[in-house]
């Protein structure tokens, strides 16, 4: 009311009220929050949203990049509709043997690596959790090293361990009287090698997340379970795991996305070989788009994982929300 009186009393006062309104606008919590987040929003726009839409645009072009790659000869659609859909590159990919091999390999790589990272992360987190608080920081720091080193660098060290002719592992194996293993020369061993390195790099992330979750489980629950006569396994199954469900789901989702999109480990260790049998979406997209000069096809390959990951993300996040509501 007082404000209304002031603003209507004189033109001079009205003029001085405007800076006050601006000041109030800038003092609002929401404005401050927006302004503080603005650099990040701009970064995300410049480095994520714009490139994502540009990649979608690129994926619709023909190899020459001068016209749209319309779909053709789709038996399941009337021709009039088919030839108006700009996903000719996707249609082409679906007819390629190598593409389906890359789909299989990406799923195998991501699922196997995430499962083992979760298992190792869970076990190591328990070990670290049971170390007395005094020495725990040292162990936590040491165990995080594989995750902290840039993967391209650490994978280079692994490459020397797996080198086809001078593998340090083979040197040890032959010293012990075993035969040489074609770590990167045979499809199965090459897949094993890239998954192993991914687990080595990624398990510490799971470990640190699970450790944080373990520390937040109230001791009273374990005490109650012990009074009820629960053994070690039952305490894990009925207390620890239910209390960690959300963090396990979030970590698995995060890791699945990052592992699906992995580039550096495969690129450095096998470059997709032998016979394309370790290519993932990202490495194959690079081979087609940058090395092969077919940018639209490379963009199509890199975008193929978006719907897969989006579906996984929707299911996992919905599950977490439901559990949150139940709680």
């Amino acid at each position: 009311m007082a404000d209304a009186v002031l603003t209507s009393s004189s033109p001079v006062r009205r003029a001085t009220a405007r800076p006050g309104a601006i000041r109030r606008f800038f003092q609002r919590k929401s404005t401050i929050a927006f302004l503080m987040a603005l650099p990040l929003i701009l970064l995300i726009f410049g480095l994520v949203i714009y490139p994502a839409f540009y990649a979608i645009y690129l994926s619709m072009l023909r190899k020459s990049m001068t016209s749209i790659a319309w779909m053709r000869n789709c038996s399941w659609l009337p021709d009039a509709i088919c030839t108006r859909i700009p996903f000719g590159n996707m249609q082409f990919l679906f007819t390629r043997e190598t593409f389906w091999m890359v789909v299989y390999q990406s799923c195998l790589f991501a699922i196997t690596a995430v499962i083992f990272k979760a298992i190792f992360g869970f076990i190591i987190a328990h070990f670290v959790h049971n170390i007395p608080a005094k020495g725990q920081r040292k162990w936590r720091g040491m165990l995080l090293i594989p995750w902290v080193i840039p993967p391209a660098m650490s994978t280079l060290a692994w490459l020397w361990l797996f080198d086809p002719s001078y593998s340090a592992f083979n040197y040890i194996l032959s010293g012990m009287g075993f035969g040489r293993i074609p770590w990167t020369g045979d499809a199965s061993w090459a897949r094993f090698s890239v998954i192993l390195v991914n687990i080595w790099v990624g398990a510490p992330f799971f470990m640190i997340m699970y450790l944080a979750a373990l520390k937040s489980v109230p001791d009273q629950l374990y005490e109650a379970a012990e009074i009820d006569g629960a053994n070690w396994w039952q305490r894990i199954w009925y207390v620890t795991l239910p209390m960690m469900r959300n963090i396990i789901a979030i970590t698995a989702l995060f890791s699945t996305i990052v592992t699906f999109a992995n580039f550096d480990i495969v690129r450095v260790l096998t470059a997709g070989g032998p016979l394309d049998q370790t290519h993932l979406f990202a490495t194959w997209a690079f081979r087609l788009g940058i090395e092969g000069g077919d940018i639209p096809l490379g963009a199509s390959v890199s975008l193929f994982m978006v719907p897969i990951l989006a579906v996984a993300a929707v299911f996992i996040l919905r599950d977490i929300n439901q559990r949150g509501n139940e709680a």
């Binding site: 007819t95 043997e97 086809p164 990167t184 020369g185 470059a271 090395e291 000069g293 077919d294 940018i295």
Partner: protein, 445 residues
């Protein structure tokens, strides 16, 4: 009204000011001819970049151009990423060094260099067929073949091991300072030598991986049999007798390569030679240069020479670099002038000397520079490296397919994959069917 008097002093001052203002645009300052930004390939021979900097900056000082040089490495394909990014942004350097397939891939965005090439061919002699194939679209020269980075990937053999295990005197076959006497160096001789060296535990270090060294070697062998997956008209020629013969031969000889050859990269063959484990590799003299530094006793036994001859001729893998001017460059005339300066015989001789003989000019009058005759040990080891007697046809894997299709065959390593698939027991017709399906995909426009 105040009266203005034009004094003598004021008149002189005004005249001086006016003449300075009028003549200012015509003063030839230090950078009167504008700016030029170029991206050259970052040479892996230490000190080689200095030679190109010296030549380019001397030209810039003479022409009064403000020149900026960026050296872009090929490690991690940084040069390819730069080309792709600048092509998308239509902005960046005025001139870029582009390897093998890239001038054709960016042909629409490149300034024609017909005027420069006509001048250089008249001066330095004709260019080889591979340069024409990779650097000419119709009547348009897409750029100028660069001396820096261009290389032949022929055999580099161990003199002692080849003599001891295969009974071949590579120095007698390819004598320093004289024409080759290599009529007996054919596919049969190569196969027998590979077998003998493999049995003696010094196998030929030839890769069957997906990187360029492996692909280039496979390509040269296929061409020696007249085998191509796609012909010059763009027609599929996978299921032909020539391809069957080439594949059969390559698999026969691959049995004598190291068991892990399918996993080799471009460094594996170098290490194979330098560590003394093999009698022959297919590489430019970089492996020999490393051996000269790290294992001089091995370097002293290395001899670079020509490829074996096949039923359709003697083919050697040639990988040229090109200097190309973007059509969006703002100083094309200066860029062309620089390309002429960097292709002069004395500049080329400097580049070749600075790279210890690694770089090869593509013009026929420039393949007999003293560096190749003098480099050693052993003296004359590089004499035959630049193909001074036109003893072999310089070629690139997947030619003569139209370059945009050939680039896919090359980067997807279709030839080495065919060899490995058949080597691992896949029936030949199944391998050919797979290759045909792959190549069909590359034909899409």
């Amino acid at each position: 009204m105040p009266k203005h008097h034009l004094t003598r002093r004021r008149f002189i001052a005004a005249s001086a000011l006016a003449s300075t203002a009028l003549s200012a645009p015509f003063v030839r300052g230090a950078h009167a001819a504008g700016k030029l930004s170029i991206g050259l390939w970052d040479h892996w021979v230490p000190g080689a970049n200095k030679a190109s900097t010296d030549v380019a900056q001397a030209w810039a000082a003479k022409e009064r151009v403000e020149l900026t040089i960026d050296y872009i490495p090929s490690q991690g394909n940084k040069n390819l990423l730069t080309i792709a990014a600048e092509a998308q942004a239509k902005s960046g350097h005025d001139m870029l060094a582009m390897p093998t397939w890239w001038p054709h891939a960016q042909a629409d965005l490149l300034e024609p260099c017909n005027d420069v090439m006509t001048q250089l061919i008249a001066q330095n002699g004709a260019v080889n067929g591979t340069v024409e194939y990779l650097n000419k679209a119709g009547d348009k020269w897409l750029g100028v073949p660069a001396t820096i980075g261009s290389q032949i990937k022929g055999p580099c053999s161990r003199i002692d091991l080849m003599k001891q295990h295969a009974g071949i005197d590579v120095q007698a076959m390819y004598p320093a300072g004289a024409a080759p006497k290599a009529d007996g160096w054919n596919m049969e001789a190569y196969l027998k030598a590979a077998e003998a060296c493999s049995k003696a535990n010094v196998a030929f270090g030839v890769g069957l991986g997906e990187t360029t060294d492996s692909v280039d070697t496979a390509g040269a062998f296929f061409q020696s049999f007249g085998a191509a997956l796609v012909d010059a008209k763009g027609e599929l020629t996978v299921k032909t007798d020539a391809v069957r013969q080439a594949l059969d031969y390559c698999v026969k000889v691959a049995r004598f390569y190291p068991a892990d050859a399918p996993a080799w990269d471009d460094g594996s063959n170098n290490r194979w030679l330098v560590s003394g484990r093999g009698a022959l590799i297919m590489n430019p003299p970089s492996a020999w240069a490393v051996a000269k530094r790290d294992a001089p006793q091995i370097a002293a036994q290395c001899w670079t020479h020509g490829m074996p001859i096949g039923p359709r001729g003697r083919y050697a893998p040639f990988l040229p670099y090109f200097w190309n001017i973007w059509s969006f460059s703002t100083n094309k005339s200066a860029a062309k002038s620089l390309l002429v300066a960097m292709s002069q015989p004395d500049a080329v001789a400097k580049f070749v000397a600075a790279s210890a003989g690694y770089d090869i000019p593509s013009f026929e009058k420039l393949t007999t520079l003293p560096t190749w005759a003098e480099e050693g040990p052993p003296k004359g080891t590089l004499y035959h490296y630049p193909n001074p007697h036109n003893h072999q046809t310089l070629s690139i894997a997947a030619a003569p397919a139209p370059p945009k299709i050939a680039q896919q065959i090359y980067t997807q390593a279709t030839l080495t994959k065919m060899i490995v698939r058949h080597l691992r027991g896949e029936p030949m017709e199944r391998t050919l069917a797979w290759a045909e399906s792959e190549v069909e995909g590359f034909l899409r426009g």
